[in-house]
């Protein structure tokens, strides 16, 4: 018998974000604590970042950035030193992204976008969006920020803020947002259980419907052309390998539960290989081989929906968070 590859940590708080920076994992807690975990570390390091619940966490070159319920942004190093970077005063701030080129954190603050510089100074982009921003994504190929809102998505230039936004219209409320890794497509998840795709070269757009639930997570396969999402009975794979994208094709579905009530709540594609970790509403978590759709068990059903899954960048460690506030670390090498 090899050693058990799975190490559970009961954090006893809602986990509102899970992200790796090298071999340190950060879990954003609903009690204002950032929990730092490392493989081989028996106990998580609990860093009291804020007196308000942490709404999300992202990785930055120096460590992690968090947004809290009262609108503050804190930076925390992987060693656990934390500092207040800025206070946007925007209640329920939960949408931040890191813009590496200018070392800025960009925050969705209602109908406008707030830029936070490395020295903590802030400014607002001049654009007023038609509704509260749903999601944000930085273009992988240029200094552009895409934001989703009611009525579509808008692309804002980050180098020349006087440029008018490019509106990509589609009726309805758009929530999450992701760029394809080649920067040629923008994909939104919608209030009405569909995803919407825009080809940026010409604005051609597509709607992919038929999901039984709302889509809240996207994950790109390491081939950089295949997108998986949650919200279905399994993970539908949408191919962007050709100019046409997934137009006129049927998604191949990985690891379909086959049960109406059991849906995929979280997913994470392996950063290097043909694997996808998939978590379901009943707590079941599988590691699926994406070519042959064979799976091994990562976690038994425990009636706790899987809320987040994250791979370390080297693909050697996997973290998953269940709704009861338990984070489980899995050593990939010990598994396969």
């Amino acid at each position: 018998m090899t050693t058990n590859p799975h190490t559970p940590h009961a954090l006893n708080t809602p986990i509102n974000g899970l992200v790796w920076n090298a071999d340190t994992l950060a879990a954003a807690g609903g009690e204002g604590t950032l929990h730092l975990l490392r493989p081989n570390l028996t106990k998580p390091l609990a860093v009291q970042v804020s007196d308000a619940p942490l709404m999300t966490v992202i990785a930055t070159p120096e460590g992690f950035a968090t947004a809290d319920e009262s609108g503050r942004i804190h930076l925390t190093t992987v060693q656990g030193e934390t500092t207040l970077l800025a206070d946007t005063k925007y209640m329920f701030l939960e949408n931040i992204v890191y813009f590496a080129k200018k070392k800025q954190i960009i925050a969705a603050t209602g109908k406008s976008v707030t830029i936070i510089n490395a020295d903590g100074s802030t400014s607002q982009l001049p654009h007023k969006l038609p509704s509260t921003i749903g999601g944000m994504a930085i273009s992988p190929i240029g200094p552009r920020l895409a934001v989703s809102h009611y009525g579509g998505a808008s692309i804002l230039a980050l180098d020349n803020t006087k440029n008018p936004p490019r509106l990509l219209p589609w009726k309805g409320s758009h929530l999450g947002l992701t760029y394809s890794p080649d920067g040629k497509w923008l994909i939104s998840s919608m209030q009405e259980q569909a995803i919407h795709l825009w080809r940026l070269s010409d604005g051609m757009d597509l709607q992919m419907r038929g999901y039984p639930s709302k889509i809240t997570q996207f994950s790109w396969m390491s081939d950089n052309t295949t997108l998986g999402t949650n919200g279905g009975g399994g993970v539908p794979l949408w191919s962007f390998a050709t100019e046409k994208g997934p137009a006129g094709t049927q998604a191949r579905v990985l690891a379909d539960s086959g049960v109406q009530e059991t849906l995929v709540t979280s997913l994470a594609m392996h950063p290097k290989g043909p694997f996808c970790a998939i978590g379901y509403t009943d707590g079941l978590t599988l590691l699926t081989q994406t070519v042959e759709d064979r799976a091994i068990l990562l976690h038994e059903p425990n009636a706790q929906p899987v809320q987040h899954i994250a791979w370390s960048a080297n693909g050697m460690h996997l973290a998953l968070a269940h709704a009861n506030g338990t984070v489980t670390l899995t050593d990939f090498a010990a598994l396969v």
Partner: protein, 335 residues
Amino acid sequence: MSSTKRPIPVTVLTGFLGSGKTTLLNRILSENSDTKYAVIINEYGLEGIDDKLITAQVDEEVFEMNNGCICCTVRGDLIRILAALMKRRDKFDAILLETTGLADPAPVAQTFFADPDVKTNTELDSILTMVDAAHILGQLKDSPEATDQIAFADTIIINKIDAVLKADIEAAEAAIRAINPFATLLHGTRGQVTDASGQAFSLSSLLTRHAFSLEHVLGVDPEFLANAAEGHHHHHDADVSSISLKSDKPLDGTKFDDWMSTLLATHGQNILRTKGILNIENEPKKFVFQAVHMMSDGEFTSDWQPDEKRASTLVLIGRGLNKAQLKEQFLACAQ
């Protein structure tokens, strides 16, 4: 951590500016100190509220659902805030949502039917509407919002009754009943709430009415549909009124389903609320049904008791209801 817990009840408080919403809200919050509330407000800050409360201010964002149903609107701001509140470890027992005097209650109610996450984490307990006894008749004439707030209400408090004559209260009650026969009518004076006979009505029970629970429609309120009276005839067809449909003959489930789906799909824009307890042929259980515009919910609940008369009752509240046709179509489901 929401998955293992019961959904959190939400009470929606509506009413025109000046009707006394804020006074009532403050009394509820100060009296029920063992219950922890999250308060969501729209237009202005609440003064003198305990700072231990979780308060969130939202700007109304009404979104049309892109599903081909024109009246299917939801409140995007509520979907967002309700999800954000679930991220706290320090939870609360209930949510109070105060809307502006001009807010349309339909998108608020529909949010609880249409959004899967809102449905999982929270449940709409009831819609509570405050009206000012001295002004309600004028407001009903002048503003469709006042009519809608009464049509959607589960509980209506006629407030400031000490400032008007008994005849005025009776006139207000008659006008309210003509629009909404199934709401519970209460009286209010200076933050004290009583039932129509003058008995004190506890504030905590205002917040645990379970008005949208199908079991409740049936059980706790035996008077519910039976007392539903048809709207007064001096109203025009375009006004909001109600119709109560009854049948002693068992309904054909498929026929009813076809009729109701078609009716709500074609006329759901004008039908504000529907509630019913139905006697379906060859089914031992009661079928309980309710809808807000086109969004409906129905299921078989408890058994018909041996000593109980198996009968169907359905109440619709809407604008310009074609009552003769509705009656004919409903009765046709029993053949």
